[in-house]
Symmetry: C2
Subunit: 377 residues, 2 copies
């Protein structure tokens, strides 16, 4: 998407590859929304570190970063011995996989790259195929988000107020984003609408990343406390809800997404407001049979007990270097502990529709339509 820095507007993707320098170029997301900066990971170890240290985050984005990282590592090999090359690639694969061991996207992305490489008959050919496969993975991620945008934009009418939760925007993918895809497409079609961004405690991705994205695209928006949506629903100030998903069960239509999503779905139903989930195929889980089997990650208590932000004086202190990463402050009572589940599960009866690259479906229809949605036979 376009980003304006110091008055200059340029098109960026979250993850790109520079084949000349064999570098993975990434938006440094830990600095957002306070600073926009693109960093280069010049070897696969740096790419793995960028994934591990959250310079890049979001399912599609870390998938593409891992795919590029595997190609980058493969291309750094000098020699013609296919056996030694294969062992080298395996080391690269394991190094990138270990960067975010519980995430499924980097693994699937790298397996896809490796399958494509196998068609090559020498090292050079396999290296070229690896890069082609990584580029294709990234290209497909963008295309899928664009298709979600095309289908979802039909839901957005002039003058609407839209609620979204967390960040399922272009920063979480290679470009465009899932929940934001319909908004960007509707804007391109000349529609005017307003977005309420749940701040999305405890990590505040709505207040930081989604708000930054919408501001960059000059889409009218306001940040709200997660507590405020109830009043907005009660006052008929929300016409449509669009959220992303971390895992959607293809067999049941249950949607796991960032903690707090479920409460918004319950409120939307009570007030008769349509509630949509935007998902690329990669987030559909065709295996699990029940939402209660989805593991709910319990994250570190410190996230709930504090917040990350920039102190008011940070930019003006003359002689000290300006902090580059927001600082952590302890908010809660120092002797209290927290419970910090990362996700919740929304049942299909609360979901009006699932916006996929192949169209909009009722959640219960996913299994029937599974062949069009990249699912099993």
């Amino acid at each position: 998407m376009n980003v304006t820095v110091n008055g200059k507007t340029r098109h960026y993707r979250t993850v790109t590859f520079d084949s000349r320098t064999n570098s993975v170029r990434l938006i440094e997301q830990r600095l957002l929304p306070h600073e926009f900066k693109v960093v280069a990971a010049t070897d696969y170890g740096a790419t793995a570190a960028a994934i591990r240290d959250m310079i890049v985050r979001g399912a599609g984005a870390i998938g593409a970063a891992a795919a590029y990282g595997l190609a980058q590592g493969a291309r750094a090999f000098h020699g013609r011995d296919l056996g030694r090359f294969a062992r080298h690639v395996e080391r690269v694969f394991q190094g990138l996989k270990a960067a975010r061991p519980t995430a499924v996207d980097p693994l699937n992305a790298m397996l896809q790259v490796r399958r494509r490489m196998e068609a090559g008959t020498d090292v050079g050919e396999q290296q070229a195929l690896a890069l082609a496969a990584a580029e294709e993975f990234a290209h497909e991620d963008v295309q899928h988000c664009q298709a979600i945008g095309d289908h979802g934009a039909k839901l957005i009418r002039d003058g609407m107020n839209i609620l979204t939760h967390c960040n399922a925007g272009w920063l979480a993918f290679v470009d465009v984003g899932s929940a934001t895809g319909p908004m960007y497409r509707a804007q391109a079609r000349g529609r005017r609408f307003h977005v309420f961004c749940d701040e999305t405690r405890p990590r505040s991705q709505g207040a930081t990343l989604t708000a930054w994205e919408l501001a960059q695209q000059q889409i009218s928006h306001q940040v709200i406390a997660d507590n405020a949506a109830g009043l907005l629903f009660a006052r008929d100030k929300i016409d449509l809800v669009i959220v992303g998903s971390d895992r959607t069960l293809g067999r049941t239509g249950e949607v796991a997404n960032k903690i707090g999503t479920y409460a918004k779905a319950v409120l939307a139903r009570r007030h008769g407001v349509p509630f949509y989930v935007a998902i690329p195929f990669s987030t559909i889980d065709w295996n699990l049979k029940a939402g209660r089997d989805i593991p709910i990650e319990e994250r570190d208590e410190s996230e709930v007990l504090g917040a990350w932000g920039m102190a008011a004086g940070s930019k003006s202190r003359a002689r000290t270097p300006r902090p580059t990463v927001p600082e952590y402050v302890r908010v809660a009572n120092p002797t209290s502990r927290a419970f910090n589940p990362g996700f919740d599960v929304t049942p299909p009866e609360l979901i009006t529709g699932v916006i996929t690259p192949a169209g909009i479906f009722r959640p219960e229809e996913l299994w029937r339509e599974r062949r069009d949605l990249g699912g099993p036979r």
Copy 2:
């Protein structure tokens, strides 16, 4: 309630009066939960400033502070001229009233003190009556919270998990608190239970004040993001909800309380969990005829766009003085704005019962029972 500082446990009230030094003594609530300190306001101007600057906050607490402040100001008068005394008292009254012009509690408390003073026939007698009336106001505040505790404790059974929102604890009153009253009484009766404290963004009074209160009383508790309650309800981890109220309509049973309360009531209903509101008589509004007529304060955007906390290094920086007030950090995208409503309204059909000093009622019963609840004829 008891507070333990440096290993020593003592009983404190939020607001007390020291007649020897003619001072209002207040817990400095802006330092909580990071530091516990009692400050003395040595003249009525200082008491007004403490109310204005939020050293003391919460309906009952600022009511008592204003009542004591009026007595304090009256007692500082030297002379016997009743006319000059009356003009002096009027200046004190206006000075304290201006400290928090939209709050109703300080006004009602001071009117009560002034009515009692009128029975005195000379300055000395009126001064003595002012202090007696202020002490009575504070005493009644405590008694009402204790009565709420007695009635509400019956709802708390061994092993229960209780959800509460914001701070309706003893820090918001003179002692005991409204929503916390039943918890403290149940604990005194030997019941064991666990409390989930909504952090209550944007001002985080749950994470700071309620968590501090419960930790001081050694009540098992955890802070949760406001987003987390949905998952807890869905997992049957909440058995009872008790919240306070800023204004309850005696005619309709609608309850205005801190933003986010309504969403919790909707979730509680969906999951069949009882939802109670604890209210002293002073928060019942017998005049308004509909919840939609309750003015919803829109508070400053900065509350949503940032957070207040203590930086990790704050206590260890050797040569710089330790900060006494938590620091504000900007969390959200710097070019985004926020919408920050302070309250929402929960309809009576979502409320299982209203816990008052006179017993527990269905919200629709308040009007019928109005004589027992301090209401009109």
